[in-house]
């Protein structure tokens, strides 16, 4: 049994736009899954269909073995959703929002109040529990939506760009919270535009583009596909132009910064051995761009190039 099983999911909107072209997706129980794709790729449509907010045109969805069409009550009990846009009553208080949401799931008020205290506390919102939600900061509103999604303690948490527009400090605290939630057994599916976020958090990844899943694999396997990486090295001293590093393709920037391309025939150790032999000291090292970002761009562009060739 999977946490989420999607088979041949298709969605055509009333205006004729084909948003999903028969996608298949299996999310293992306890997994941390990332759904990536450019804007308009179909990520949000897929998520909103799973959460019963958009009607599917065709296909089958099962949540922990419960068919969403035939056993919606059981399936929905297992899903918690954090949407992209703020969608709570901004004139209500965080405490009321959580307790009411629990009520919609058939949870008694006395239990709902205890859970609201727990989740508002864990997400550092307890002291704001009686404030009008409209007055909360952007990061607080995002955390409130996470607390609301967890109030019925679902087995599957789906987050649609949960950290969009929040500062790095809050984003990292949210990452930690999501990691802890996943470690406690909750399966998580996340869409994000921050590829660093997906790489840090997720163990599995699916890339969706123009309504089709173009990659669906373990994060570690996907990153292995990266045949070359560009590293930026800051050197302690200026490098002479005649330094021979010809085993690697490199560019010298401003005398003491080196951009080196490490391909699949070499490792980063080879580069350091060479630098040691040349007595070149390195003060810091970083990737020129996020590894997943490079792969993502390559996959999406190669698909688009293929489509153009075919047409």
């Amino acid at each position: 049994m999977s946490a989420l099983s999607i088979k041949n999911l298709t969605k055509t909107y009333a205006n004729g736009f084909l948003a999903l072209k028969g996608i298949d997706l299996e999310v293992d129980i306890g997994g941390f899954y990332s759904l990536l794709g450019p804007n308009g790729a179909g990520k949000t449509t897929a998520i909103r269909i799973v959460c019963s907010l958009v009607e599917k045109s065709a296909g089958n969805i099962e949540v922990f073995g419960y068919n969403l069409a035939t056993h919606p009550e059981e399936a929905k009990m297992n899903i918690g959703m954090v949407p992209q846009e703020v969608n709570f009553n901004t004139f209500d208080t965080p405490l009321n929002i959580l307790v009411n949401q629990a009520g919609f799931y058939g949870i008694k008020r006395s239990i709902a109040l205890k859970r609201a205290k727990k989740y508002l506390g864990e997400l550092k919102l307890w002291d704001k529990k009686d404030d009008i939600s409209r007055n909360l900061s952007g990061g607080m509103k995002r955390r409130l939506m996470i607390a609301r999604a967890l109030i019925h303690e679902p087995e599957l948490l789906i987050l649609d760009e949960p950290t969009a527009g929040v500062d790095i400090e809050i984003r990292r605290s949210m990452w930690k919270f999501l990691k802890d939630t996943n470690a406690n057994g909750t399966t998580i599916i996340l869409t994000t535009h921050y590829l660093e976020e997906a790489e840090n958090l997720c163990r599995n990844i699916a890339i969706i583009d123009e309504g089709v899943i173009i990659e669906n694999t373990r994060m570690i396997d996907l990153l292995k596909q990266l045949k070359q990486e560009t590293f930026v090295l800051s050197l302690e001293n200026d490098l002479m132009n005649d330094s021979n590093l010809n085993e690697f393709s490199y560019t010298l920037i401003g005398g003491n910064q080196l951009e080196v391309l490490v391909d699949e025939d070499h490792s980063i150790n080879d580069l350091f051995e060479l630098l040691n032999r040349k007595k070149i000291k390195v003060s810091s090292l970083r990737n020129k761009s996020n590894r997943l970002e490079e792969l993502f761009m390559r996959l999406v562009h190669s698909k688009n190039d293929t489509s153009k060739e075919n047409s």
Binding site: Y13, A14, R48, C51, S52, L53, V54, E55, P72, E73, E74, K76, M77, I79, M81, P83, E85, V86, N87, F88, N89, T90, N96, N100, Q101, G103, F104, Y105, G106, I107, K108, R148
Partner: protein
Amino acid sequence: MNLSLNLIAFYTIVRKEVIRVLRIWIQTIVPPAITMTLYFVIFGNLIGSRVGTMGGYSYMQFIAPGIIMMSVITNSYGNVVSSFFGAKFGGHIEEMLVSPMSNSAIILGHIAGGVLRGLLVGAMVTIIALSFTKLELKYPLITFSMVFLSSVVFSLAGFINALYAQKFDDIAIIPTFVITPLTYLGGVFYSINLLPDFWQYASKFNPILYMVNAFRYGILGTSDIDVRYAYLVVCAFIVILFTLSFLLLKRGVGIRD
């Protein structure tokens, strides 16, 4: 269907609605009190004193049940249409749609909210009416059942309006162009026996006429129509409108892409 889950969900919506009505009492309770007081002062007192009796009662007594019913109808409708459309507009309708609660619980919860507001405002207008005139309660069961059922009808109508509404203007169209004219032509201020035959006949296609007259019958014991027909009309509307609401909600009209 899990009954206990749906009962808690139903109670949650009703509680939320009641808190909303009381929180914004200056928008929900005060305006009908002022408007209806003006009706009693202008139509009942100033003009009514020159009209004389109608159906064997003073004009003030005659119009009082109609004005109470008018306030119940407009407030039941207004509560559901504004609350449900507000939830659609603000996006928090999704809180209910993602949950396992049944469509019936969603409809009944909002209808209960509309009925409670309608009855609350109706009770307040009754108190105001009693400060202007004396009202008996000839048939309490007819009075209370008719005001309750009429409130249900207009709450359901408000729910359907909210489902279809795409912008705030859309929730004002039906009250302005349908409910208000039908209410004024529904025998609130006159007996249809005063109308020419054709208009008497035409008036019988107006469902509000049945509600107002049956309610008036319950209070005063006088009516232009047979009260049994009133129950038939009101119950038929409830069945039709509830079925329509349920089917529209199930199909996701106005709320799901």
